[in-house]
């Protein structure tokens, strides 16, 4: 049977992959997808801890994380659409001014 450590290491690997995506990629949509990978890595560790402690709290906080992720995706993608309309690009390096 996999232990708590196994789940935490898998979660850490996924979180590091998500961070790498945010730092390396130059495409806003891929950056948002990498944030989703990070949120899922944290969800996995919450559920694993909840299972180890024998409580239901881990699953409930995952529920809230998913709600926040849905809100973040909706607002983030709306911002991406607005930015793309102004600059015709998805490269974050083109969005350098606060106002235009």
């Amino acid at each position: 049977m996999p232990t708590l450590n196994d789940y935490l290491i898998l979660s850490a690997i996924l979180f590091a992959i998500g961070t790498a995506g945010v730092l390396i990629r130059r495409n806003i949509i891929t950056i948002l997808l990498s944030v989703e990978i990070m949120l899922n890595a944290v969800n996995l560790s919450f559920v694993a801890f909840g299972r180890a402690l024998g409580t239901v709290d881990g699953q409930i906080i995952v529920f809230f994380v998913m709600t926040v992720a849905a809100a973040e995706a909706a607002v983030g993608l709306a911002i991406v659409i607005a930015l793309f309309r102004h600059r015709e690009s998805l490269n974050p390096a083109t969005f350098t001014s606060l106002k235009w």
Partner: protein, 168 residues
């Protein structure tokens, strides 16, 4: 244990492919596969409720939203080619630090987790996994956060409509 390695390998490999694809559509589809593998891991952790909402809400709703936006924008991906073509370590200036920082984080997390003392062993005790228990906790102990969530969703909905409006 075999299942754990199978689902874990699928999750890690598809996540790596997500951040290495040029075309965002492939990234989104691979991320859905990654969520499927995570859902299998939730089943192994005896959390069927989380496994099901992972598929229905994450893969079914959030990722479809992403796919919809990717197809709607129809982004010209020649523009990003310019520096995506270079390897992450061989770009100029600050872009290189991103790759170095990511490697550093992975090394630190691995170091921190492998030096942990005390083998945890298999999970003990029965799992609390029934939807009844989750619902009871959600509407008693966590009733206030649950209600605040509805306000958050409302704000996100209004914000998305305002931001994406054509003449905002």
């Amino acid at each position: 244990m075999t299942l754990f390695y199978l689902f874990g390998a699928v999750a890690v490999i598809t996540s790596l492919l997500v951040i290495s694809q040029r075309n965002p559509i492939y990234s989104v589809l691979l991320l859905i596969a990654s969520f499927g593998a995570l859902s299998g891991l939730y089943v192994m952790l005896e959390a069927p409720f989380v496994a099901v909402i992972q598929i229905i809400v994450y893969a079914g709703a959030i990722m479809v939203l992403f796919l919809f936006v990717v197809m709607l924008l129809n982004a010209p991906h020649e523009e990003t080619e310019q520096d995506e073509r270079l390897h992450a370590f061989r770009r100029q200036g600050p872009l290189r630090f991103g790759a170095v920082l990511a490697i550093a984080l992975a090394a630190e997390l691995t170091w921190a987790l492998t030096r942990g003392t005390g083998e945890t062993g298999a999970f003990q005790g029965p799992a609390v996994s029934s939807v009844q228990e989750i619902g009871k906790a959600l509407f008693t102990d966590y009733a206030f956060p649950f209600e605040v969530t509805s306000v958050l969703i409302l704000v996100a909905m209004v914000g998305a409509v305002v931001l994406a409006k054509r003449d905002a």
